[in-house]
Symmetry: C2
DNA sequence: GTCTATAACATGATAGAC
DNA sequence: GTCTATCATGTTATAGAC
């Protein structure tokens, strides 16, 4: 196993543990034990516990911004854009559950520099999402519900999908992809 | 100041710190410093850091179950019941922001016994909420969206209200009480 | 009720041998 | 690349003086 794979392995294992117990509750000894090595050996592959956290959180945050950037310029209705975004959240949740959980729970433990970077990516994502809603409402494709409440309500549900995805035996990915957009966009009442 | 008030003060201060930095990142020295006393003195009022956390988390969890128990037997439409629950979440979020945040972020750090208790309260709440949706769908008051997805989507948003409530300058409590039920129940699309 | 002092241990990280 | 050994610091918690 070369150095990159080993590093990747450490980050994946860390994400799993951080998700389960929280960043602060996971010691470098815990992480090393899970990898089957000693704590000191970790430092041949990573430079600090902080670096691992930043690697996890920022990779997900960048992925989300990357996706919304491909959606925004498309010549499709607002509802289609929102559906595409919801589907991307579902897919990423399925593929990178631990990373998603880690981003949501532990970003607060990033050092000042990375926290600022994370929050600016998040702000950028929210601004682009808000703009899609604004245009949709202006074109009367969407109901005129308070825009901040709409942004918050939808993004919160999407961000927290991973919590619920752990119980995925209850519902298939396919059902999720049809019924979650219905819930978030059409609502429960006719 | 008598013993109960002092204890209460410690719990309120702890909730504030736990919310800001996370349970594990707050030491008893931090908490004592914030209270203007020494760490050792805390133990005259509480028996452990764990006990403080349990006190915070369980009080909120019990409040939610208590409220839904008053709503369930009422002779009103499902939509009215859901609106009442949404309003209760909004009110509690406004009154006990730190407690709500602490429950959401730090329940994972409860010891085994209290974690089990918390999860059973949470399960009980979800079951009662699910039943309201089930009846509403059976009576055709609500659309037939996958029930687990509906439960998840709505409760997630309500649980995470505190995150957004910190930016309360953006929207009034009154607007929240009208537009959040609209978003969650009516949806964005006509 | 609060203090000082301290026990007993866990933490992130590093140096240097192999 | 991994190990053992170690460091400096932080942790929860208690004993006993005032």
């Amino acid at each position: 196993m070369n150095k990159n794979n080993r590093r990747e392995d450490i980050v994946l294992t860390a994400a799993k543990l951080f998700r389960k117990k929280g960043y602060n509750a996971v010691s470098m000894r815990d992480l090393a034990a899970e990898m089957g090595i000693k704590a000191a050996s970790l430092y041949n592959h990573i430079s600090s516990k902080q670096e691992i956290l930043a690697s996890i959180v920022l990779s997900v945050a960048k992925d989300f911004v990357g996706h919304i950037d491909t959606v925004v310029p498309q010549p499709i209705a607002s509802i289609e854009k929102l559906t595409s975004i919801i589907h991307h959240h579902i897919e990423l949740t399925a593929e990178q559950t631990d990373f998603l959980a880690c981003m949501n729970n532990d970003w607060i433990h990033l050092d000042e520099e990375n926290k600022t970077l994370y929050l600016s990516l998040r702000k950028e994502y929210e601004a682009k999402f808000r703009e899609i809603l604004r245009v949709g409402m202006a074109k009367n494709e969407l109901k005129n519900i308070h825009i901040e409440i709409s942004v918050f309500g939808i993004l919160t549900t999407l961000r927290t999908l991973y919590v619920w995805y752990a119980k995925k035996d209850v519902v298939s990915l396919k059902t999720l992809k049809t019924d979650l957009p219905r819930l978030l966009l059409d609502g429960l009442i006719d």
